[in-house]
Symmetry: C2
């Protein structure tokens, strides 16, 4: 088995830097678009056979060092009883707006309510046959709470933030509930066979440091600490969060994912010089010519030289308009860097 | 004349912290919405009498310490011959995509091409009669270049960034042209009577530090240095740029505007402990109850205590759904802080 990814997460020596790509199973792949013509987006992640097929597409095509479950970040919201539609971004039917809405959130049995996720993981482990490890994932509690309150994506965050500023107790009760769901969701993924998990805190970067310390960090840490006994690497990735790195240092993850805004060595310094890092090529570099892709990938590898471990990735999901050739160039540049 | 704002910018003692609000002339005001029902958005900034009326609306209603010209950030693009429509965000008719597009950009005489801006400033100075100083503004070169290349706002910036990464020479030629236009645009505003200017670098936060140092900072600095002899305070504001503060420290502005992501004292530290700061209440606080507005405004004022100068502002433009009462509470909290 190719265990480069797991070894790098665990600070063990590797023959070369492991590489996977956020959203590696997705729209930039013609074979994904072909499937998508026949099935709705939610069918692709709700049908274990289809989710398995999509997850394996980039593994079959490219020499990547990890697979990541194809799913949607709002599956835990579905488990909580929300109806999610895609238009094309996710839209929730009945967002959480009041203390009474929070009170109405009942007990959630994730294994019973979204069994397709765990079935896909079991299928994937069989079909991967140890080729590469399988990563599971979920939204961090703050990010999931943003979706529940905003009712989807947002530009101004003028529903969640007034809740934090105006009704902090309600916000904390919601976050506590979401933390329970996220914890059992990731626990069940690991029990089904996920060999690592990534917690996506996509929206925490909208917070100032004070609010991050109160509303995001403690809940992400609680999830990550719950999982520590299960023995798989735990990755925490917050987008646009360079200002939060001194706090993120204390989230309890084995690996910290960082976006492109700071070079890896500077991010490492701001995190206290002790973490394994994942990242951080700007996905827009993959829209530039091959020699620039090699050059920028080389910069990332050089900035990572002093780290206790490095998993190469983009600083954000790969864009749908990325040429396949760019991915091939990137993989070659990471596999055979020209120093 | 109320010169609190100018005094704070110049590190002179003030009787109380001056306050103005980004987008203080705009949609949250019923008197603005009433005008907007009768006139298109572009008419409001293209007709000097209307632009003057809109600029004065918040000054007549609230006890603010500065007025800011009501205009659009893409007026310099109009001066360069681009057609801008609003849908509702700005859309350019013929974005800059190639080296040939950059070559086609001709000489621009801003005073001849967008005379309405300078006429509005002259009218405003007469009608303000010294009540408060008048601030002019423009987009920083990188931000204006983003609009020209993306053809409007963007979410992925997958036009401008491939240009930076793939064709840096073309990007530099575009930025040099945009820098000339911005410099003459702000010079003409000051000559017409603007008593301070703010350079809005709304998009530079999408850049990593390396790219900011190459493509944004030198051009913003060039504009700011050109204006230094004109004797008015020069404010530089970059949104979502906490990771860039050590570079922003060298932009040459008298005042650095910062958003809410770092408390003012931490931003001051990261800037090298020498700048006057403007900011930085999260605009979402104004959607919370009055006691929370007072509390958060007090936190901003306390964090600003050690600065050589502080201009109170939001960390981003005020939202259209902000209650008038929240603005009144904020002004009172800044004028009469309860320590």
């Amino acid at each position: 088995m190719n265990d480069r990814f797991l070894r790098a997460c665990r600070r063990q020596p590797v023959d070369r830097t492991p590489l996977w790509i956020m959203r590696q199973a997705g729209r930039y792949l013609p074979e994904y678009r072909a499937l998508r013509e026949r099935h709705g987006f939610s069918t692709l992640y709700r049908e274990p056979e289809l989710a398995t097929q999509v997850t394996l597409q980039p593994i079959d095509r490219f020499d990547l060092d990890a697979a990541i479950l194809f799913s949607d970040i709002l599956v835990p919201a579905e488990a909580m009883g929300f109806r999610v539609e895609f238009n094309p971004g996710p839209v929730l039917d009945a967002p959480v707006r009041t203390a009474a809405d929070v009170d109405r959130l009942g007990h959630v049995d994730v294994e019973a309510s979204v069994p397709f996720v765990f079935e896909a993981i079991r299928l994937l482990r069989r079909q991967l046959e140890g080729r590469v490890p399988l990563i599971g994932f979920g939204a961090a509690p703050f990010t999931l709470a943003v979706y529940l309150v905003e009712g989807g994506g947002s530009r101004r965050f003028d529903r969640i933030k007034p809740l934090l500023f105006g009704e902090p107790e309600t916000a904390h009760r919601l976050l506590a509930r979401v933390t329970e769901v996220t914890t059992s969701y990731l626990t069940a993924q690991i029990r089904a066979g996920a060999q690592a998990v990534q917690l996506f805190d996509s929206w925490s970067g909208i917070l100032g440091r004070v609010e991050y310390r109160e509303f995001a960090l403690p809940y992400a840490r609680k999830v990550l600490e719950h999982l520590v006994g299960l023995g798989v690497p735990r990755i925490y990735f917050a987008l646009d969060a360079a200002h939060l790195l001194p706090e993120i240092a204390n989230c309890g993850a084995d690996v910290i994912g960082v976006d492109w805004r700071l070079p890896l060595d500077e991010a490492f310094d701001r995190l206290g010089r002790r973490h394994v890092l994942q990242g951080n090529l700007d996905p827009c570099v993959l829209l530039a010519p091959p020699d620039r892709i090699r050059e920028h990938a080389g910069q990332v590898l050089r900035a990572a030289r002093g780290l206790p471990g490095h998993v190469f990735n983009l600083g954000h999901g790969v864009f749908p308009n990325t040429p396949i050739e760019s991915i091939e160039t990137l993989i070659d540049a990471v596999h055979s860097p020209r120093h």
